[in-house]
């Protein structure tokens, strides 16, 4: 970050250091920090504390800034009435499986497309990237019809975790991200491994993967958040109460549950992704900016 102090941006650093510029800069900074805290953290504060209020307190005007008589009972009710433990476990299970499936199949495919380059590889890559242009909503109906009766094998994947795991492997963005990273690994290194008699699998395992830890981390984090945030697809393919994800479960209960309890459940559902983000924010942000759009 120290380099940024010398980098020239829109407003010159000299101008910011001079008398009036300096006052203006600190004013703007203070306003931005306060405004951003209110806009982005404020609603979350309202959510967490609102769920601690009683039904009467939440309906009073003007609303109270702090819960007058905090009722952690709402959180307890949310946990037991909605069976959040089960819902969170399901979601966690689907997310873990999604990470494993994506890491294994997408990494192998990207490695083949980047380093092994078999016949028709470019065509396959092109067809994969073309799916980025197809909006998910357009495919939702035929995908659903496919999942309830898989072609050739005629299996019904409803309520099976594979209905979430396998479609997520067909993620062209992952393939693109991984292939670009593998492309940057020097050919000489690969040639050296081949000279030493290493098989492609051995090369992937001992040379490529250890060098690719950052990008594998990004793919894994994005896989977890994708599963945690997804709504319509798990709602369609996990119709039973026993197999629901946490978002779908809260939605299913939202009609007949007091709203403070629904909000309490929403807070609990959001905790895992928020914690994940706070731990891995650097990886997430770098994955978002370098992976996507410099190519």
């Amino acid at each position: 970050m120290a380099a940024d102090l010398t980098t020239r941006t829109l407003v010159s650093p000299a101008q910011l250091r001079r008398g009036r510029g300096r006052v203006l800069y600190w004013t703007v900074l203070a306003v931005v920090v306060v405004a951003f805290t209110l806009v982005f953290l404020g609603p979350l504060y309202w959510m967490v504390t609102g769920a601690l209020k009683s039904g009467q307190e939440i309906a009073q005007t003007p609303p109270s800034l702090f819960p007058r008589d905090p009722r952690p009972q709402n959180y307890v009710d949310a946990w037991t009435n909605l069976d959040l433990a089960k819902l969170l476990f399901n979601t966690f299970y689907y997310a873990t499986g999604a990470v494993l499936f994506q890491l294994v199949f997408d990494t192998a495919a990207a490695y083949a497309l980047s380093k092994l380059r078999p016949v028709l590889g470019k065509l396959i890559l092109g067809m994969m990237l073309a799916t980025l242009m197809i909006p998910a909503m357009v495919l939702i109906v035929p995908q659903y019809v496919t999942v309830i009766d898989l072609p050739i094998v005629h299996l019904n994947l409803l309520d099976s975790p594979f209905a979430i795991w396998l479609p997520l492997v067909a993620n062209a963005f992952n393939i693109f991200l991984l292939k670009r990273f593998f492309d940057s690994i020097p050919e000489d290194l690969m040639a050296a491994a081949v000279m030493d008699g290493a098989t492609p699998l051995r090369t992937l395992w001992s040379i490529v993967l250890p060098m690719s830890r950052p990008i594998l981390g990004v793919v894994a984090i994005f896989a977890v958040t994708a599963v945690w945030k997804d709504f319509l697809w798990p709602k369609l393919v996990m119709p039973s109460p026993e197999t629901r994800t946490v978002s779908v479960g809260i939605y299913a209960f939202s009609g007949g549950t007091p709203m403070n309890v629904v909000i309490a459940a929403s807070v609990i559902a959001a905790i895992p992704t928020v914690v994940l983000f706070l731990i891995f924010q650097r990886n997430i942000m770098s994955g978002l900016t370098t992976g996507g759009l410099k190519g």
Binding site: T9, P63, P118, I134, L232, Y251, S254, M259, A270
Partner: protein
Amino acid sequence: MALTTAPGATHRPGRPAPPPRQTAARRAGLGRKVRDNLTGHTFLIGAVACFAVFSWYPMVRGVVMSFQRTRRGETTWVGWDNYTRIIADPSFWTAWKNTFVFTGLALVLGYAVPFFVAILLNELRHAKGYLRVLVYLPVMLPPASALFLFKFYAYDPSEAGLFNAVLTALGLPTSEWMQSPTMTMPAMVLASTWMNMGGAVLIYLAALQNIPGELYEAAEIDGAGVWRRIVHVTIPQTRLILALLAMLQIVATMQLFIEPLILANGAGTQDSATSVAYLIYQHGFFQNDLNGAAALGVIMLVVLAGFSAVYVRLTARQD
């Protein structure tokens, strides 16, 4: 492809050239090529199978389905019937109007705001990490969680609601939010922008950091003020990213679904929230009309392809 390029590879410096007139060696080379290709395709097979079953095949299946009708297990070809039926649905045009209004409003609010937020953040030399984390935090929330917050707390139509309380405190008139047909769309755009703008802000920030400082220097020497520097340096320098994100945002907002579902219970007051994606969901999964839903999906694809074509032409002309 590898078959035609491989012979060139053997002539690379540092490797012995293949001895000529040795058919046995060449045959061995061919065998090796076949084996290498087999290995390559073995690595590809898992991902390719998933793409084939869950992406490529459904694309074709969707188009085929839109010309068929399945009743009691019997599938027949019905020509354009599904299309005429879906277009005759009284909600069809409302859904398109709503979706376009949402996309338009989201472009004004959700597209310009992140760009200027990024420009602002790029100028600040303090609290950088903190501000970035704040902007991206809502993106990490499950959309259902965030939308329940908006539905129950922020858009509460009484004065106990968060937004109405703020408006009252500022001496402004309150709103009925989702209960009012005219406020439904702006309220959904607001919630959607809050949830999703973080990604765009971070991508713009990365683009802004690639602008050479000399350009600003030169513009300043020429007497350009801050605004003119934005117009003549910042925007042209980030043109490609701006165009790309505009396209991505149009595609994303045209698929508006979870906001109407949770905030407006689907259709909203007087059909003010019905979106095309919601109509697909309704037809496919509630009216037992998967074929009609597939036809609507194809219509959506054609409309979005139209947008992409316009986008490609516009960006091609700029270069």
